[in-house]
Structures are given as structure tokens and as C-alpha cells.
């Protein structure tokens, strides 16, 4: 295995931080480190001092007992507690900034599979164990797994998120320094866990455009459209089944009276487990595609449905966020979570500009064909 990495210092003590968020995390860590070193020196120093000063000089010594005092005990309980609270708030701030990607971040899909990382750009590029991203832009990774739990870890960006089967988790970064960085799987995933590594390449905008122009596959939406044809979905959808046009993010009543919003979660569930939530007035006739479609193909189908548009803006709030407390939790949670929740603007009608670009170059098919699935 090649390790195409950084200038090999003989003894590296501090890892490079290639993102502003990473540098802020470093700052917090350094503050904690400084306080910890101070505490360790204090404790070691005191023990050392006492050990020498009060060493036993005669076997008959019987020192006077000293009782603890409430004031002293309170002092050394409360001061650490306050320091810890400081750590907590600072750490929580970084954590929440880390958890919520900016709305306009470019979205890249990452699928973990024993034992490789499969990366799909919305514009069609596919990579294995490599991730090319532009410097100076917000990039959101949408991460899932085809088999066991993996963890997508880029030390230089100070980010890590588990890839959990059946779940789309997310992490994001804003890389500023072009270069190559390690990519690790951090969650133990079986035999070649330590081989599930790769490289994140941060390119200058111009280089990135050049890279984009290189090996481009068909866009996710186009690939999804092909799957839609291949599996004959249009035999039913639009006829006896609900039409998919402008379905994404629509609110629809279910046969049991509940209302469901056709977000990614619902679309995914309806592809893999169609009977679970059937829209009112339609028969439950769709077969399950679990085991038929790979995780990648599910993503492509969702991208296709997203490319068919969203309903007209209807900014009505709804209930999910309504019960949310505005105490400490929401206070730290970046910009008013509740408004966003009810606000369809989080998903502007054509939320994915890359989709359209990609359709122009559907001829590239040579890297096509679900590498992810083949190895099953």
C-alpha cells in the first residue's frame, strides 16, 4: 500500500489542521491540554513535595490527624466543575457546528463497504478510497454503509462519523489548504479494517474544475432514471401508483390517516419496504427492492426523484419541531432549528444544480455498474 502523504518528518508531534473548524478544535484541545498539564504538575509536585518534606524520620512518629473542611472540599469541587462547564459549552458549540452543514454545501455521497470507501459525486464522478474536493467550499458528505458499521475519519479535518447501515449520517468540512490527506475507517469492521483507508485530495478551484472535466460518469439522477426504466417502475407509477413528479418533500396522507412528508427517509423506506407507509387511495402492490438494489442504486433513485422537482413553496410549519425546548440545547444548536425544520427553503426547488450539468455527459459508462454491489 502506498502512503502518498505529507513530508515525512522524523517525529511528527502535531497533526496539520486543514480546516477552520479543525483549527478551532485544536484551540480547545490546547486549552484543555494546558490546564491538564498544569493539574498534573500541581498534583505530582505536591505529592513530591509532601513525600520529601514529611518523610518518616522515626518509626514511632504519630502525626496529628487533620480533618477535612467543608470550605476546602467545596472549593476543589466547584472550581473543576466550572472549568469543566467551560469545556462543555465550547465543545458543544464545535460539535453542533460540526453536525449541521450549511444549507448550500455541495453534497457528496459516501458508501462504506467491507473494505473500501465508495464515493459518488452528484455530477457523476465515482471514486474508490479517494475523495477529490475543492478548496474553499463547504462540502457535505452523506454517509451510509452497505454492510457493517464503518467510520469515515479525516484526521486533518478533525472530523469523523460512523457509516451505519440503514442510516444516512452526515459530516461536513470547509477545507482551506490544498493537499492530500489521510482517510481512515475508524470503526472496526472486520478482516481488512486497516486496509479501508484512502486519500482525500483537496484541489484549488481551477484544478478541481479540471478534475471534474476528467472522468465524469453519468450524474446520479440520470443513473437513477435508468434504474427507474430498467426495473419498469413507470409501469405503475403515474398509473395505479402515485406519480413521482414533484413528489419530493410533498406532504401526503397515508392509508391509516397519518401525514407523511416524502423526504429521503420516506423515499428510501418506500423503495425498500413499500408496504410500511402506503399513500391513501393507492393499492399496496409494489414489491420490495430490498436486496435487489444496492445502497448506491437507492441513492441514485432518490436523486432521480429529487430531480423531478419539489412542490411549490408552502412555508407552513408543522409539528415535529414544535415541542422542542429552547433551553440550553436549542440555545447552542446553531441558528434556530425550528424555523428551518418547518421551512421548505431548506430544500429549494432545484436543490441540486449539479444534476443538470451531469445529464449532458451520459455517454461515459465505462466506470458504471455498481462496483459496490459486485463484491457482495
Amino acid at each position: 500500500m502506498m502512503w502518498p502523504l505529507t513530508p515525512a518528518l522524523p517525529l511528527e508531534l502535531w497533526p496539520l489542521a486543514a480546516t477552520p473548524a479543525g483549527r478551532e478544535m485544536d484551540a480547545l484541545f490546547l486549552v484543555e491540554l494546558a490546564i491538564s498539564v498544569f493539574m498534573v504538575l500541581l498534583i505530582f509536585g505536591t505529592i513530591f513535595l509532601f513525600a520529601i518534606k514529611y518523610r518518616r524520620r522515626s518509626p514511632l512518629e504519630r502525626p496529628r490527624p487533620i480533618r477535612g473542611g467543608l470550605a476546602l472540599e467545596t472549593t476543589w469541587s466547584v472550581i473543576p466543575l466550572l472549568v469543566f462547564l467551560g469545556f462543555f459549552f465550547w465543545g458543544a458549540k464545535i460539535y453542533f457546528a460540526n453536525a449541521a452543514p450549511p444549507k448550500d454545501a455541495m453534497q457528496i455521497y459516501v458508501i462504506g463497504k467491507q473494505w473500501m470507501w465508495y464515493v459518488q459525486h452528484p455530477t457523476g464522478q465515482r471514486e474508490i478510497n479517494e475523495l477529490h474536493v475543492p478548496a474553499g467550499r463547504d462540502v457535505q458528505l452523506i454517509i451510509t454503509s452497505q454492510d457493517v458499521i464503518h467510520s469515515f475519519f479525516i484526521p486533518a479535518f478533525r472530523i469523523k462519523k460512523d457509516a451505519v447501515p440503514g442510516m444516512y449520517s452526515t459530516e461536513w468540512f470547509h477545507a482551506t489548504a490544498p493537499g492530500s490527506y489521510h482517510l481512515f475507517c475508524a470503526q472496526y469492521c472486520g478482516t481488512s479494517h486497516s486496509g479501508m483507508i484512502g486519500t482525500v485530495v483537496v484541489l484549488k478551484e481551477a484544478d478541481y474544475q479540471q478534475w471534474l472535466a476528467g472522468g465524469r460518469g453519468e450524474s446520479m439522477a440520470v443513473a437513477g432514471g435508468k434504474l427507474y426504466q430498467k426495473y419498469g417502475c413507470d409501469n405503475c407509477h403515474g398509473r395505479i401508483c402515485p406519480t413521482l413528479a414533484r413528489l419530493y418533500m410533498q406532504e401526503r396522507p397515508l392509508s391509516d390517516g397519518r401525514i407523511v412528508r416524502a423526504d429521503e427517509a420516506y423515499l428510501r423506506e418506500s423503495i425498500l419496504d413499500p408496504g410500511a407507509k402506503v399513500i391513501a387511495g393507492y393499492p399496496n402492490v409494489m414489491p420490495s427492492f430490498r436486496g435487489v438494489l444496492s445502497e448506491l442504486e437507492v441513492l441514485q433513485l432518490i436523486a432521480y426523484i429529487r430531480s423531478l422537482g419539489t412542490p411549490a413553496l408552502a412555508g407552513e410549519g408543522e409539528g415535529i419541531g414544535a415541542g422542542q425546548g429552547t433551553g440550553t440545547a436549542a440555545g447552542i444548536a446553531a441558528p434556530d432549528a425550528r424555523t428551518q425544520q418547518g421551512n421548505q427553503n431548506a430544500y429549494p426547488p432545484d436543490s441540486n444544480p449539479h444534476t443538470m450539468q451531469g445529464e449532458r455527459s451520459s455517454e461515459v459508462q465505462k466506470r458504471e455498474g455498481g462496483e459496490v454491489r459486485d463484491k457482495q
Binding site: 497533526p15 505529592i47 504519630r62 469543566f84 472530523i159
Partner: protein, 541 residues
Amino acid sequence: MGASIEPLVERTTNYLNAEHSVKSWLLTTDHKRIALLYLVSITLMFALGGVFAMLIRIELITPQGDLLSSDSYNRAFSMHGIIMIFFFLVPSIPATLGNFLVPMMVGARDLAFPRINLLSWYLYITAAAVMLYVMVTGGVDTGWTFYAPFSSLFSNGRVTLTVVAVFIAGFSSILTGLNFIVTIHTMRAPGMTWGRLPLFLWAHYATAVIMVLATPVLAIAMLMLGLEHVFHIGIFDPALGGDPILFQHLFWFYSHPAVYIMILPGMGVVSELIACFSRKRIFGYSFVAFASLAIAILSFLVWGHHMFVSGQSVYAGLVFSILSFLVAVPSAIKVFNWTATMYKGSISFDTPMLYALGFIGLFTMGGLTGVMLATLGVDVHVHDTYFVIAHFHYIMVGGAVMAYMGGLHFWWPKISGHMYPEIWGRISATIIFLGFNLTFFPQFIAGYLGMPRRYHAYPPEFQVYNVLSSAGASILAVGYLMPLIYFFWSIRYGLRAPDNPWAATGLEWKTASPPPTENFEYPPVVLEEAYHYSDEEAPIA
């Protein structure tokens, strides 16, 4: 004249020489003999876990995976973790020193349920036998954390039997804890009020609470994991609508408190050692005692800090993070009080005290790095890296094992009736302290640089730290072998131990070394508080 000295040597029958048959050992209900049975069995398991640790360290000297295949390496670290956690650390201090000392310290003839105590050892042995069978028939490659769906549906190791072994070991632990709680509640000698209990007992009481209330959740999680592995139906498989993260919740509901099962008894031991070798009452006795209980209770509320990047809700992350900071406070209180106990004391540096001082230092470092790990933003980076490995080895090895070794030296005269060679004790304690730091400190740096845990091969820039670590591990191994040798040596050649070689307080020192079968010739009565090293009145600070 020579004839009159003779009876002094074998002056009474004690628990060791009361009976000699194999049956008298294997069917004994004497808590002291059961403690020795445990001592022998956990030492064997410790050696076994140590062998796996050496395999890991030798493999990691070079960045390439050259010594072991990746499957063998995965089995090596899984077996290391499972054996060290479930078969060494969890029973270590409670089942040996705790078993030996809890009844003596409360002034009782035995634990409340002697036969259940023996059953607990047999369960342990059964579990260990199953684990050994797993080892010789191919091992298991799940890691000690058994995360679903890898363990349940993808692993090709002997998951089922391992799960059975952990399940049985869990019940052994439950029975030990149950025995301690009931004994401390009901069997205290006249005058032994709660305010006079040695801190060793407070710590064991807190430990027992965790053992009794957390372990069953591990048992049921293991059971459901086993069902999923055997029948391929279960509740952690996302393809069946399950949530793999639920397994992590149930697992850590036990396994985080379990960390305190390992460290709390160590804190109890250190409280005894610091008091004895400073000849001082523990500073802030009641704060240290209640800190143990606070830790036991808070330890149940923090498990989610193992799951900050797992996909758990970020709001749950907030809750678990702040609670994790809270549990650090009682630990800090203990460290400060131990240090303050030495103030104006009469400090001697016998081997147990060296271990106790090492404990305070290493536990402080482990605890402070634990605070960093509880910090949400920082944990995202260092989670599942060698930083975490270093952190918990500072707590488990630097803390729990140091305390265990210290306690073993301190009570060895009482247990065996012989003194260990003091000079060798000090040498080995120093070697262990140095070897430990050389082994694990470099791992903090490697971890922050980003080296993930459980890696069979790694990028070459981490090699420096791994070589240092492996070098340290070999020193550590020498340090651990020395006590093993001189303890055996002392049984035959060591000086006869007096009843109270350290001039310590505590009921266990008021009886013979080794003690008679029912501990005391006359039922003891307690008239003074713990650590009554001086008759002078203590001024109120």
C-alpha cells in the same frame, strides 16, 4: 530454649493449613480460600491476556502487517480485550482482595452467602473454560465491544460461545456484588457504624451496586446478540428494521459503569495505602466515601459518551457530555483528598505506597484525558484512535492494575503469612511505572495524530510511537513477571509475617497472619473510627 521457640512458628492452625485435601480447596466456602482460588485463576487469565498484548505490540513494531495475518491480529486484540476486561479487570480486586478482606474488615466470620460465593467462582471458571475453548478453536474477531451488525451477522469467529462465556462471567460478577452488599449491610461487627467503615468497604459497596444493577443489561444484550447470530433474526439488523445503535446503548449501559467496577475498588485500596503509609486519617473521609457512591450512581448516566460519532442524536450527545463532566468531579475530589492526606503525615516508601503514589499520578492523567474525551468537539477527532486506547489504559492499567498490585503487596503478609522481599518490590514497582509510561504515553500522540485503533497495518509516520510503545511493553512485562516470581519465592523463603507488619489500623490487622478459618478468635468490637493512627484530637480545619 530451642524447644520453646518451636511452637511460635506453627503457633495456630490458620485457613491455609486447616485442611490439606484438594477437595477442601475446591469445595471450600471460606471466603479467604475462595479469594485464593480467584487469585490463581485471574492471574492465569492475566498472563493469557498479556500474551495477546505482546502479540499485538510485536506486530505493531513495523507499519506493515507482517507477523500476523489481519484475521489473526483481529483475533489477538479481541481476545486481549475480552480476557482482560471480563476475566481479569472486572473480577480483579473485588474477587481477590475484596473477597479476602470484606468480611474481615466488617468483623464477620465470612460473607453473608458463602456457598453463593463459591458458586460465583465456579461460574467464573466455567466462563473461563468456554473462553479457552474459543481460543483454541479459532478465537473471536469482534473486538470486546461486539458491535452489531458486525458481530451478529458478519463475523466469522466463534461469536456464540464467546457470548455465552461473557454471559456466564456476568452472573459470576452479579453474585459477588450481591454478596458484598448484603454482607456490608447485615454483618458489621458491633460498633462498626457506616461512618467507621474503611474506605475500601465504601468503594466495594459502590462497586457492588454497579455489578448488581448494570451486569444484567449486558447479559440480555449478549443474549439478543447471540440469538441474532445463531438464527439471523433479531433486533439489531437494519435489513429487518432494527437499529444497530440500540446494541451500543445496551452494551454501554453496562460497559461504561463497568469501567468503574474496575477503578472504584482500586480507589478503595489506594485510600487504605495512603492512610497507612502516611499514618494519617484520610483527609475528608466522608467526602471520599460519598464520592464513591456518587461515582457509582453517575456512572450509569454517562454511557452515551462512547457514541458521540455513532449517529446518536446530537442532543443526547449534549446530555451525556455534561453528565460525563459531572462524574469527573467526585474523581477529582478523591485525588485532592489523597494528596491532602499526605500533608504533615509520616510518609514511608514501602512498595505498596510506591504503587499508590503511581496510581494517583497515572489516574490523574487518565482522568484528565477522560475529560478531553467527554468534550463533544474534541471527542469527534480522537474517538476510536490510539488517544482513547492510551486514556483507558491509564485508567485500567495505570489505575486499576497499579492499585491491585499495591493491594496485593500490602495484604500479602496477611494472605500468605510471609513477607515479600521489600527491595525487589520497590524495584519492580519502579520498573512497572516507567515501563507503563513508555508504553502508553506515546499512544496519546499517535492518537491525536490520527492513528485509528484496531489497525493491523498503519501509515509509516506513526512508527516511531509504536516502536516506543512496544519497547515500553517489554519493560512492563518484566515488571509484572518479577512480583510473580518473588511472591512464589516468599511463600517458601520469605520471613514470617507479624500480625500487623505496617502498624496499620483496620480489623484485618487485629487477627493472626494468616488468619484462622473464621477470621477472629473472638468477635471483634469496634470502638474507634477508621484510620485511627493517633490518639490526638483532630482540629477542625
